[in-house]
Amino acid sequence: MEERPFNDISYERFLNEGKLMGSRCRKCRVLFLPPRTICIKCFGSEMEWVQVEGKGRLVAFTCIAIGPPFMIREGYNRKHPYVSGVVELQDGVKVVARIEGVDGNNPEMIKIGTRLEVDFLHRGEGRNSTAFLAFRPCADGHG
């Protein structure tokens, strides 16, 4: 379906288009997210693109008070921490992402296992536009 190379550049471009895309080995059917060029199970390189359904649960997180310059420019600081986490998707693969819709100042209220759905944070304009992968608690409220 897609002719793009199985690498991080394509992965990022898909994110910009609001799609979470992984690569699947045509031979042994293992799914990799972010995409891998080489299957680390059978070492084959026949891959296909798969759109991953962006639903999962929180397996680890942190509320960051001292962030890198690009996060400081977004307005985050010691008084206004942001949350980053590891999310396990329904397909069994995990991703690291920003966690939105939770309060970085109340980490005790953020629970491992919380059901999350994908979101794309679009930043910048034109050629400088970038999408950051994010997850937020499911809108249906079922925890």
């Binding site: 997180f61 986490g85 690291v96």
Partner: protein, 421 residues
């Protein structure tokens, strides 16, 4: 793996030196390394002619970023008058000089060289905290960086996974911090050469002198729970869970086993070395252990014929308090999920059955990243030779010590086992 790991010939450590670690506005990488080198020279019992050094292996992580200067191998060999002999820089994030040590061992074990200088240096204090955080984050995977992870953030996330799996809490991490400070109080080379109790007393004295309200912490844990003195860096990592920004250098002298006695009557033998690599954070099957550490340990134990219970003392890579707990499990000292209990029971204290980070660890001794791997071995050198002064462990038949160095979020790990015979 095919066949059993073995070294071509034995390698011994016959000298070890390091600078004090700390923030030194008027010292650069060259002056730091020169200082470590001079101390190392003074520890070679029968003396060393620097002209006999065949090669230099130097660990350094991010001087390119921190001081905008790369290509540190020849800069240091020129500094020491070693040119035109070869100088090789190794980079493995915070395990950079752990790698340098291993390359030095291989260079001698192969039969190619007889005398090798191994060291590490990092100069971090000339940048802001935010810039240093950004520089260190370069050791994470690109996915983690984009998701906003810093290094305290990576280990914060690992801590939440560990807490959820094993029921440990922030209170257990405090036991690591308190122990590290108690050890560092006895180490004049440590950046934070004070116990938590000392820090509490200093702050109380200061408050009294200023005439303001005087803090009333009952014990160390109450102090560590106080967000005014111990703020969040990347929850649940607080200030006192994190190693500091440091400048420093360390170096050791490795020689072929058959000539070791030309340098000292009390050499330490490199009986085990191991190295592993690990996946990015999202790809780990389980966030509560490091595959690189387990692999490095397996290699080093196999080479040495030793088991985890034979290691009498260890320096482990406690860049963050949670890391020390995970490492002592991955090295096999304690079962998975039992490390935090062992620390709570005092088993890893200076006077416990398995002393860990007698130097004060990265947390208190300081963590000039490129120097750390070798500096850990300087501590093992001092302890095994019973030259550790006030912090000498009281174990009677002390012969075997190990040092574990971890880079990134577990991307690189080395384990070295030294033996005094």
């Amino acid at each position: 793996m095919r066949g059993r790991r073995k070294l071509g010939r034995g390698v011994a450590m016959v000298g070890a030196g390091m600078t004090k670690f700390g923030i030194f506005r008027d010292k650069d990488s060259k002056s730091l390394f020169a200082e470590a080198f001079q101390e190392m020279l003074s520890t070679v019992d029968k003396g060393l002619d620097p002209n006999d050094i065949d090669a230099l292996y130097l660990g350094n992580f991010t001087n390119d970023f921190f001081v905008r200067q790369g290509h540190w191998g020849p800069i240091i060999s020129d500094l020491l008058g070693l040119t035109p002999r070869p100088a090789t820089r190794t980079e493995g994030a915070c395990a950079s000089s752990g790698l340098a040590f291993r390359e030095g061992v291989f260079a001698i074990a192969s039969g190619f060289y007889d005398v090798v200088l191994v060291g590490g240096v990092e100069n971090m204090s000339k940048r802001s905290t935010e810039e240093v955080t950004e520089g260190l984050a370069m050791a994470a995977s690109p996915y983690e960086i984009k998701a906003g992870f810093t290094f305290p953030g990576v280990f914060g996330a690992i801590a939440t996974a560990y807490f959820a799996k094993y029921g440990a809490t922030r209170e257990h991490l405090m036991n690591v911090t308190i122990k590290s400070h108690n050890n560092a109080r006895l180490n004049p080379k440590a950046q934070f050469n004070v116990s938590i109790r000392d820090i509490m007393n200093q702050r109380i004295e200061k408050a009294k002198m200023r005439g303001g309200s005087v803090p009333t912490w009952r014990d160390e844990k109450e102090f560590l729970r106080d967000p005014k003195v111990n703020p969040v860096v990347a929850w649940p990592m607080h200030l006192y869970d994190c190693c500091p920004i440091s400048d420093g250098a360390a170096c050791v002298l490795l020689v072929a086993e058959e000539i070791a006695r030309d340098f000292t009557d009390d050499p330490l033998y490199v009986v085990g070395i191991g190295q592993g690599s690990g996946k990015a954070l999202h790809a780990k099957e389980d966030l509560t252990y490091f595959e690189a550490t387990r692999y490095a340990a397996q290699e080093a134990y196999e080479l040495s014929g030793l088991r985890a219970e034979d290691i009498q003392i260890a320096e482990v890579h406690d860049s963050f308090s949670i890391a020390e707990i995970i490492h002592i499990e991955d090295l096999g000292f304690f079962k998975p999920g039992e490390g935090y209990k062992a620390v709570e029971e005092g088993l890893t204290r200076l006077d416990g059955p398995k002393p860990v980070n007698t130097s004060g660890g990265l947390k208190c001794k300081g963590h000039p990243v490129g120097a750390t791997g070798v500096a850990q071995l300087v501590e093992i050198w001092k302890q095994l030779r019973r030259e550790a002064g006030e912090r000498q462990v009281p174990i009677r038949d002390l012969r075997i010590g190990a040092a574990q160095s971890l880079g990134g979020a577990g991307g690189t790990c080395t384990l070295t086992i030294l033996e005094r015979r």
